[in-house]
């Protein structure tokens, strides 16, 4: 894999094209953790494909597939402690899987049943889906500053893409984090495309090197190598917790699917390019090493396959069974208390929703 625009070799642990190295016993992960990483990646892949299918069948309004980025998401999320926080953008279903977020609740965002999804962010320390590109970076920095003031000793990781590094909020967030020594990990999934704009048209300097301008470490990692991603994130989170040193991680990966189900990627990139990256599939690569190194056997893979099918099926059934929220909820959480003007509007909305709107005239809201 030749990472676009990235100077220097990315951190890599897994072999690119097969082989038994590294010896599992030399890694900081136990064998059951090595297998768990694989399991989480497979659950992610299956759920992601199922979500894409659900959109094609009209059960989701839109969905941004993450296929190809499983190692980047699972490896980074798995490297965090349970008490660490993460702030996703909108393509982090894999990180949600690691955190045990109910995917039916997560997909309510994409089923257009509730904007933030309906999961409890606080319970999972997994923030709400954030669509305006790079905006969540500032929330993560603020959260990290706040947790540090409370002496919580946790790290906060924020996910964003290569396109986000062009936004002001990315630069402002990096600068604030450095100035306030916020315990934050900036995790950039460089998937090469920001909708239709390739990285080469997005920025000139390598993303990971931008960290130098803010005064903290930047790390380039092979984003399709789950063990390398794990290692880079583990080290960055420790730097954050221990010394309030932020890190910018650039995980080089590829968006195999379209930007979202509303996108047609064939208009701006070649099948040939996609095929080359498909050959570097992070699941195949990891499975190959797990087999070769003896960390997992055929029985295990079969078990995971079976579990992931059931996992995706449960998700499908739950999504399809979920309906729109009651109209009254539109007014429920605008403010802590319903002010008079909204009380009037709520009354009107409910009256019309019951089909008894006519006749009373426009009384305004």
């Amino acid at each position: 894999m030749k990472p676009t625009m990235a100077e220097g070799e990315p951190l890599r642990v897994l072999p690119l094209h097969g082989g038994t190295s590294p010896d599992p016993s030399t890694l900081r992960l136990k064998e059951e953790e090595l297998r768990e990483l694989y399991r989480l990646m497979v659950l992610t892949r299956k759920a992601d494909l199922e979500a894409t299918a659900l959109q094609r069948q009209g059960e989701l309004a839109v969905y941004p597939p993450l296929i190809g980025q499983e190692a980047a998401q699972v490896g980074s999320a798995f490297a965090l402690e349970e008490s660490d926080w993460m702030f996703p953008s909108y393509r982090e279903l894999g990180a949600a899987v690691v955190r045990g977020v109910d995917l039916i609740e997560y997909l309510h965002f994409y089923r257009a049943t509730w904007h933030g999804g309906t999961y409890d962010a606080n319970a999972h320390r997994f923030g709400y889906v954030s669509v305006p590109v790079a905006s969540q970076i500032l929330h993560a920095v603020g959260y990290a500053m706040g947790s540090k003031m409370d002496g919580k000793g946790i790290a906060t990781l924020v996910y964003f893409g290569d396109g986000a590094t062009s936004e002001g909020d990315f630069h402002e967030g990096c600068n604030f984090a450095a100035v306030f020594r916020a315990p934050v990990v900036f995790f950039c999934q460089n998937n090469q495309w920001a909708i239709s704009v390739p990285l080469s048209a997005q920025t000139v300097a390598p993303i990971w090197r931008k960290a130098e301008a803010y005064g903290f470490p930047g790390v380039l990692v092979d984003g399709n190598d789950v063990l390398a991603v794990y290692q880079a994130t583990k080290e960055a989170a420790a730097r954050a917790r221990d010394g309030g040193v932020p890190t910018l991680i650039e995980a080089v990966t590829y968006r195999i699917g379209p930007h979202s189900t509303a996108d047609d990627a064939s208009r701006y990139r070649t099948d040939d390019e996609v095929s080359r990256w498909k050959a570097l599939d992070p699941l195949d690569r990891y499975r190959g090493w797990l087999e070769a190194s003896g960390a997992a056997d055929a029985w295990y893979f079969e078990q995971v396959e079976q579990e992931s099918k059931e996992f995706a099926h449960r998700m499908r059934t739950g999504v399809i069974a979920s309906g729109p929220r009651p109209v009254a909820e539109m007014f429920e959480w605008v403010f802590a208390d319903l002010p008079p003007h909204l009380a009037r509007q709520r009354e009107e909305a409910l009256r019309f929703a019951r089909g008894k709107g006519g006749g009373s005239g426009g009384k305004g809201g």
Binding site: G127, L138, H139, Y143, G168, F176, F335, G364
Partner: protein, 320 residues
């Protein structure tokens, strides 16, 4: 008013150990208007801190701090510099309670010195309150007097939802005698600052004092008794007070510094027409800034509503 705001920040910081104050030059300098004078020295650099010069980050980081359980009170140095933060305010701060189904909230106050009349440079005299009032999920508060400023800032800080707190620059140096202790007005309640029978002037911020001046002159020169309503909060708007006053006087003029088109006055007029139509004796008029960029200071007196322009509008509605 500056001292009243300063006192409100101090007392709130003392009462609420989770409250923070952040912004540009708010530390040792005490803010360009000195509203935060001495506060960092009293409460420490951890709770009162200068930020790098980046308004979107001030807003977005404030939200992150709020999600971590803190109560940030952020200052935008001038209204003209608050626009880089609009994305964070509109897309996130205003929506967080809603999108999280009440699980994550944004008890944030953003203080913004606003409006003109102080001979300032470009970007230092604007009135952007309608942008915020039009954004669901924000409360918008505009005090007109020092004592109101004290109580309303205290109420805004204690409020569980985000509040955009506009401070009228031309009233910063205004003085008022009175007690700060005791109950103040809650957010969402306006007040009648002058009783009258012939016409209601509805205003807020610096234009309340100007409306009172106009009312005084009308009373003296032509015996017309104008009632002046100070809205104090644009969101939530005190609909009951508005309707009660206009139904009684039958006439209304709305006064603000912001441009006419789609200004907050349009909202006030619409409410009056919807709630008081049967009581109106004349069309409801607006006296506002013009639909031009805020002009250079040497001609701003021709832009900001003057007593003469207000009286001309009152004459039109009372003589209708």
């Amino acid at each position: 008013m500056v001292r009243a705001l300063n006192e409100a920040l101090r007392r709130s910081l003392a009462d609420d150990p989770r409250m923070l104050v952040l912004g540009e030059d708010i530390g040792p300098l005490g803010g360009v208007f000195r509203v935060t004078d001495g506060i960092q020295a009293e409460f420490g650099k951890e709770r009162v801190f200068d930020t790098p010069l980046a308004e979107s980050a001030i807003a977005g980081v404030s939200l992150g701090l709020a999600l971590a359980g803190w109560h940030p009170v952020a200052e935008m140095q001038f209204e003209g510099f608050s626009y880089p933060a609009l994305d964070q305010v509109i897309s996130h701060i205003a929506k967080y309670r809603f999108r999280s189904r009440g699980r994550q909230t944004a008890p944030i106050v953003i203080r913004i010195p606003f409006a003109g009349g102080v001979g300032a440079a470009e970007h230092h005299g604007e009135s952007p309150e309608a942008y915020y009032a039009h954004t669901s999920g924000l409360k918008v508060v505009v005090p007109s007097t020092p004592i109101d400023a004290y109580h309303l800032l205290r109420a805004s800080i204690a409020d569980p939802d985000p509040v955009i707190f506009f401070e009228p620059k031309s009233r910063y140096w205004s003085k008022e005698q009175g007690e700060l202790d005791g109950e103040g007005p809650p957010i969402g309640k306006g007040r009648v600052v002058r009783k009258g029978t012939d016409c209601t002037i509805v205003s807020y911020g610096a234009m309340v004092a100007r409306s009172l001046a106009a009312a005084g002159r009308a009373s003296q020169e032509s015996g017309v008794e104008i009632e002046v309503v100070d809205l104090r909060s644009l969101v939530p708007l005190d609909l009951d007070l508005l309707a009660e006053s206009v139904r009684r006087t039958g006439r209304a003029v709305v006064v603000h510094e912001a441009p006419l088109t789609a200004g907050f006055g349009a909202e006030v007029v619409a409410r009056i027409v919807e709630d008081c139509f049967d009581f109106l004796e004349a069309p409801v008029l607006r006296v506002t800034g013009y639909d031009t960029p805020y002009p250079p200071a040497t001609i701003e007196q021709h832009y900001v509503p003057s007593v003469e322009r207000i009286l001309a509008a009152v004459e039109r509605v009372t003589g209708y």
